[in-house]
Subunit: 459 residues, 2 copies
């Protein structure tokens, strides 16, 4: 159902040129980095204030017009697609750092600010915001999808680093959740409820984030292993030994080949770990030594240390380009990306099983991941439009998810639900998924906020 | 409204001798450690299985009978009082450790198990559960009130240490929230929603907890300061410098006097900090040295180190008996206990203002707290039945809460809402409090779960 003309006209009055129905703008807000496809939204709005967001939602709520939040469009499960039409709410113009409170190690930011922009602003403060999903995503989008990434093993996910939010509800009411205090037991944790709700419960218009001290010393390295099992078991042993890794990333052989081709590298075509240590000079040296001994026990060899900050940045830039690199292994392909997360004791088994399943099917499916959290991804490369391949990829993804659930894990460590993981939600949560639906219905009775995502279909 | 006879009879059939309506059992479940008073519940049930909890809730939900969870009765805001009658659900018989998974540093436990019982069971594993609210509370109760305490500055609160829950909903449905994976982005964070919901959204029947490695070395000390400001500013400087304190507790002069009398100590009657370090031998030595230098800057003197584990335990036992010690300053008194938590940069101002307000009123109100989190308590001692004193104490408590809110803090760092903090919820959360009410109404439409607490009165 298209947006009714009187609503469009009211939006136009409110936003002027910051409302667009051009095909180009609609198409730009109808794309996705993954295989998910949907028609574009009917219009795009660029609000500049919380009050505008509130006015837009009041209007859309009155007329039952869907509103879909848009950050940078880098989500992987079709979160921001307008599956039943409606208005794409692009937060790009709400991109300011509202306040940095160094003494409390906190920053308040608008949702359209990206994590790299924030860290650029923080450069001279001695502080940084650590959560790093790879993409230069918007902080609002990262909160909405409970993003994490390479540094979560040390600094936690968005769950751990969002202290407070300003949120506009479906009916336009503006609420503030959480506080600037380090902890609170004053009622339901609405901050935690909003983080990861994927724009289905409200639109985030401000975030108060926890910052961390820039480490005195950072050291990063790459290390090859003779077998996949050796690399993964080394990770489990490292985490269990309590070495405070800042990053510990697994990259399988196929992914290494992808990096070599895409980023002009020359790593041996073997499983690798990419690691990083943060701390004082002494602590980093001690941690690196302990890790080196463990790696040695599992056959690790050929440590290549990033000698300069530039080398280190190049290394992580390469890692962050994993997705296009993997796609380049099969030019023109798209990918079904899996995202299971399992308890550490189950990691080696889960990675090995995924590897075997992919090999048995014959599909190309490079594996890598944030293994320090027990989280890894396979990018199952499929030819666009090839229904048979898509079906096989989805069957493989389902098998991995079922295996994760069987060992106490989760279907999604960090990518979220969107439309891609919705079919697995009942498997993970059982009746709990219905509870999510009940909460959604209570806070958004007209189902205007990102409808068709995350929760069960409304009866 | 008393429980209807047919319901009591069905409960009796279900539970046999594990249902009681004796005055003694009712009175035992109608008390509170604080000044809050209410008539006792109409009956007490001791379920032994999740299925029994489910059957009890189905029955009570059908008949609109209130059900109030009961752990150890140590909460301070009247959380477990049967303010409109009903059934007290005592979880004491569900007190087993279900599973310890050392390799994942996790334990699954039933809600009636206390934190000390869990740590006794873990003694030989090299692991421990750190959250320590002082009282030997049940783990279910600690989750329900989002408890924290002395070690939160290092290990976080129940929010950070509960990975997964089994919960029975008002209508008897059994759900599992969270997973054993370190992180997840698979939908709304129902675990975080249940933690701190104070038995108003469901009854917790199993918890999966995050464990931590027992530190190689523990060192604890007490240190006196010439002024309140010096002690508190030393804490702020310590936290800002990043020294990983395991505990850092402030105790004012009046509290020191209370400890000296109650625990037979001989500390100088000055403000003190109680501190603890966890880590390797080397790290603890380095941290203690850095802290010593900072303390010196703020006039700290007379470090008294606990030489043996027994001395250390005696020290923290003393701290844990703060509440009875404080009450003993005025024999026969009860207390209005405040619990504000503010950003670190606001801590010194908030403590000083509280101190001045109490002095200006003339009330006896010792102050202490988990200042590493920005959280502190004053126990405003009132004579039971003295309405004027109670009114003055509540006015002082409100003033402290308002000051906390004015600087971005919270009315409750760790004690929760119950009935005691309910009048302040609108001040902290505004429209967000109504959102809590909407969630409560969606999950418990008949309002049987701990009615009269936390959320707004149902219209």
């Amino acid at each position: 159902m298209p947006i009714p003309a009187p609503v469009l006209s009211e939006l136009q009055t409110l936003l002027g040129e910051r409302l667009s129905s051009t095909q180009a703008d609609r198409d730009h807000h109808g794309g996705s980095e993954s295989y998910h496809r949907a028609p574009p939204p009917d219009a795009v709005a660029w609000p500049e204030t919380t009050q505008e967001v509130s006015a837009i939602l009041q209007l859309c709520n009155r007329h039952g017009v869907p509103v879909i939040g848009w950050g940078t469009g880098t989500s992987l499960e079709g979160h921001a697609l307008a599956v039943v039409g409606g208005l794409s709410l692009d937060m790009a113009r709400m991109n300011k750092v509202t306040e940095v409170r160094s003494e409390d190690m906190q920053a308040s930011v608008q949702p359209g600010l990206t994590r790299e922009e924030l860290n650029t602003e923080l450069r001279t403060t001695g502080l940084f915001f650590p959560v790093d999903p790879g993409a230069n995503a918007s902080l609002g989008g990262m909160a909405a999808t409970r993003a994490s990434g390479t540094t979560a093993v040390r600094y936690g996910t968005m769950r751990d680093n969002v202290l407070a939010l300003e949120v506009v509800l479906a009916d336009g009411r503006i609420i503030r959740t959480g506080s600037r205090a380090a902890k609170s037991s004053a009622g339901y944790d609405l901050t935690a409820l909003m983080v990861g709700s994927e724009g289905t419960l409200g639109i985030i218009t401000e975030l108060t984030l926890r910052l961390h001290g820039q480490p005195e010393k950072i050291a990063a390295a790459v290390c090859a292993f003779p077998t996949l099992e050796g690399a993964v078991e080394c990770v489990t042993a490292t985490i269990q030994s309590g070495i405070p890794m800042a990053r510990i990333e697994f990259i399988d052989e196929v992914s290494v080949r992808a990096f070599n081709g895409y980023a002009g590298r020359n790593f041996p075509e073997q499983p690798h770990l990419m690691i990083e240590f943060h701390g004082s000079e002494d602590a980093v040296a001690a941690d690196a030594e302990r890790f080196g001994e463990l790696a040695n026990d599992f056959g690790g060899q050929g440590f290549e240390w990033a000698a300069t900050p530039e080398d280190r940045n190049a290394l992580w830039k390469m890692r962050h380009q994993a997705f296009p690199a993997q796609l380049s292994v099969r030019p023109g392909s798209t990918a079904v990306v899996t995202d299971i997360c399992v308890p550490m004791s189950e990691l080696a088994g889960a990675v090995a099983a995924a590897h075997e399943d992919i090999a048995a099917d014959g599909m190309v499916g490079p594996i890598l991941g944030h293994v320090g959290d027990g989280n890894f991804h396979s990018a199952l490369l499929v030819e666009p439009g090839n229904e048979d391949e898509l079906k096989r990829a989805k069957a493989l993804a389902r098998r991995m998810a079922e295996r994760a659930l069987a060992v106490g894990g989760t279907i999604s460590g960090e990518h979220g639900v969107g439309i891609g993981k919705r079919a697995l939600m009942a498997d993970e949560h059982g009746e709990g998924w219905q509870v999510m639906g009940a909460i959604k219905a209570a806070l958004d009775p007209n189902n205007i906020l990102n409808p068709g995502k995350l929760v069960p279909e409304r009866n």
